[in-house]
Amino acid sequence: MVETALRRPPLAGLVPPPGDAVVLAPVPPAARFILRVRPAAQTAAGEAFGGPLPTIACRAATEGARAALWLGPDEWLLISPDAPDFTALAGVPHSLVDVGHRQAGITVSGPRAAAALNTGCPLDLDEAAFPVGMCTRTVVAKTQIVLWRTAPETFHVEAWRSFLPYVCGYLAEASREFSG
């Protein structure tokens, strides 16, 4: 489609660092929305999205290629292959805002992925403290990110597009000490 040809995603120029102790890679293209809705309508919103909205703080729920990341008591980041159809929610107060061009994601994976992230992220990334399926807003050094652990040694990092060169540069620099 014509639109795709015109797109220039922010991670086109990502050069992954050497070694396999830490691997940086862009996540595949996807639609992204921020959903805000009050508790009464959360079930209906989940049905419209095609996947449940997690209600436990800082947890993500996936349904096939769809993921809903809890970012706040009434806030989710929705990631899905296509734009979800929320017409069923007409008349229900909510906010659905397209952020598919605002941000993009990378995966940070490998046996030293957590250590590389901890170079700039102050959270406890021990699996007991930050298990698979946990997600949160946090930082990599001077930049805000959303961090989501998708596997014991794999993290999904979302950042706003203008911060991605910094995030990737920082994590690539952090990975260097594990490349020997």
């Binding site: 014509v2 639109e3 015109l6 797109r7 220039r8 995603p9 922010p10 921020i34 805000r36 009050r38 009434d74 806030e75 107060p93 909510h94 906010s95 659905l96 805002v97 397209d98 952020v99 598919g100 061009h101 605002r102 941000q103 250590a115 901890n118 170079t119 700039g120 992220c121 102050p122 959270l123 406890d124 021990d126 403290a129 050094a141 001077k142 930049t143 706003w160 597009r161 203008s162 911060f163 060169p165 910094y166 540069g169 920082y170 620099e173 952090a174 260097r176 000490e177 594990f178 490349s179 020997g180």
Partner: protein, 978 residues
Amino acid sequence: MSSLRTASGGRIDRTKTLRFYFDGRSHTGVQGDTLASALLANGEYLLGRSFKYHRPRGVVAAGSDEPNAIVNLTRDAARSTPNVRATTIELYEGLHAESQNRFPSLQVDIGAINDLLSPLLPAGFYYKTFKWPASWWQRVYEPLIRAAAGLGRAPTLPDPDRYVGRWAHADVLVVGAGPAGLSAALAAADAGVRVVLADEQSEFGGSLLSEPTEMQTWLAEAIATLAANPRVTLLPRTTAFGYFAHNMAGLAERVTDHLANPPPHLPRERLWQIRVKQVVLATGALERPLVFPNNDRPGIMLAGAARTYLNRYGVLPGKRIVVATATDSAYRAALDLRAAGADVAVIADLREAPGEIADEARAAGIAVRTATSVVGAGGLQHVAWAALAPVAGGAPEAVPCDALLMSGGWTPAVHLFSQSRGKLRFDADASAYLPDVSAEHERSAGACRGVFGLAEAQGDGAAAGASAASGKPYTPSAATPNGGGWLGLMPNAPAKKAFIDFQNDVTAKDIKLAVREGMRSIEHIKRYTTTGMATDQGKTSNMNTLGVASGALDATIPQIGHTTFRMPYTPVTFGGLAGFSRGDLFEPIRMTPIHPWAAEAGAVFEDVGQWKRAHYFPKRGEDLHAAVARECLAVRASVGMFDASTLGKIEVVGPDAAEFLNRMYVNAWTKLGVGRCRYGILCREDGFVRDDGVVGRIAQDRFHVTTTTGGAAGVLNMMEDYLQTEWPELDVWLTSTTEQWAVIAIQGPKARAVIAPLVEGLDISREKFPHMAVAECTFAGVPARLFRVSFSGELGFEVNVPADYGRAVWEAIYAAGRPHNIVPYGTETMHVLRAEKGFIIVGQDTDGTATPDDAGVGWAVAKSKRDFVGKRSLARAAMTGPSRKQLVGLLTADPKTVLEEGAQLVDDPHQAVPMTLLGHVTSSYYSATLGHSIALAMLVNGRARIGQTVHVPMPNGAIAVRVVKPVFYDPEGARLDG
């Protein structure tokens, strides 16, 4: 010089010889040596010159408490580190070190004249000497003092090494891996919790590394047990330098300093920031020197250090040894040295009745003199004799020696405990300050809380470690006094040249002088004499200072108190603290989707916060002014395009969206129709302008709010704050969309002609799409929000497209504009165009003290609204009236004169300084369109002064300016429709 290396023993590998260089001379050491031990083994006693008097100095200690043996360590021109302790430098092949503070050489040093002049250089010398004449201060004294101040030379080249940071969490952090720390870590690890064990030395073991042999099996097993536990992180060569609030510790790990050829992927240092539930401090104790004349001669060292050099490094401190002590522990050194074949001439014990260990020494054939004080030492660049005198009085006897070992007792290392705001108490039995009341979840174990003795320290550590793992309250057992100790000047010893602080050259005489001259507080004595203020922060000197001050003030030590312990425990490199924050990673460099096009087009960029914005687009040979003049004229005559993507954007969605904006902004929003925009002003609660921007109504329940580039994050935070804390009942939500949209402004009479072919599904004619309209459409093949707005006064559009399309759409507009000679322009032209129209920039024309009316946008305030943020403040009397500064325009008589932004305005330029200031120039440019300079200003009662003349006082004379209305171009607004 003869070798002092023993034939066997120690933790060194005699088969691995390492060549190294000190002051250019080649020496050899072995694997496991420190620079200090290797130099001592080579008979090199003289390692440096002291700071003030340039006295010859040698090794005093064996660890990070070393005050004297500090050197410059060099790998190459860029890797040069001054003031490194030779006692902590692990030897590697090819190491280069140089002594400091000497000229022309260490042996022959001209600065040593200061030692002879020392009667003229007492404590407080600076304060007494550099007072007259006052005019000399800047020209003579300060440059002189600055030249003399500081030790070592900072490298001048950029640091080529890498430094990394690491955040970590654990249940228990144990600081210090001596017998207490290892026992604590073992006990905590046994409980199954996450443990971090850090020690500043290259090997774990602490004091055990200085023991002969019996404990080595236990040590090896303890380390192996910990290393095999995946829940335990072992950090050797790691100094816990800071203890911060909420059990946060700062640790500096030296990763590659000990390697001859560091692998390129490894950082030089790693800065750990560790948050833990419980801390066990097992930082040990530091031995105190004795204070007597010439106690700084090379060859005089701490008894415990001598024992370390013998048992750990296989180095004898000398061949004929005198020991002067106030404790039992020095006997251990004497006995070990005797067993190693050294001649221990005599042990001079200050005490009348030393313990059983004295009998052990006598049995080994060592003469012990009790109640004997060391009252002096002789020798020029190396100790040659010790003067011993009975405490009861009598003539001193000079005993020849080439090594004089001293022990005044052990000072618990309470630095980290005190940094954590824990309260200390003075323990008279231990002659030391000990940890008393904790401020953090922390406990001290072993010698750092006065528990001496190997078994006692192990037991104390194990109890502390187990309790830390459980997190339960902990009552430590009683401390165990360490048998004696002495604080301050030795009995019968003169105070002259009796050094307390070796590194800052402070003597007992200086402390007494400070007290005589009126200093009472220990903090004043410290600053007056500089004792404890060198790079070692007085590790070996603080308690002796208290001892001397106590005598001089006739007060007990608890009455005097103690100085503040501050981080870092030992110096930390700037590189370690900076980490990645240098070069490209110093700050995020934010770039718009259109940035690459602008860069290829030769744009000059400016920093706007973290953003890089195109400042102007120079053609060949153009400077800023020429480019901006061309860009401005092109926009006014035809059309220009501008990357406005950095503009802050907030999507405000929900049934209560209009009501929310009504409460936030000064404007009225409920009647704004879908498809229309309005210029909004946002005030703070105090009524002053905080931000501005165009707000478009996309749907009944959806607004597209724009903010200033710099205000984007702050405005969203402010709105969220009000929404969550004041009006949680409103059904409205805020989402930042700043980066969702690329924004391209097309401004100029030809703007509609340029974009018309690109717009699908929207009639953008003057009638159907008037000024301040907004609509969704397809633009250049992609979904877009098109605004008809103008920040230039010309016909203008701002097209918002999803950011990935930004560059393609920019290129499409540029191609469509070529027939109209479209000009890409930068922020400078944008600023000039808006100033010609008198449009303010919040933060430039306002400074946080301007009301909407002051800024000339009072018309935006919806006075009929019941409330909005800032409304009540705006009603205060002080917010109106003739005292307010108001936005005005200024014109100079000479059209070429461009005023300086920030310049002050006065009525009478001949009045006396300080003048009565009426305001200042906020924006000032040369307008190519108008053919003369223009300026905006905030001026007291400005609108009433229109037509009058005010003055701008400048260094070269005052400039008269005429006050005018702030709209310089097209005041009727006729050009908005093209």
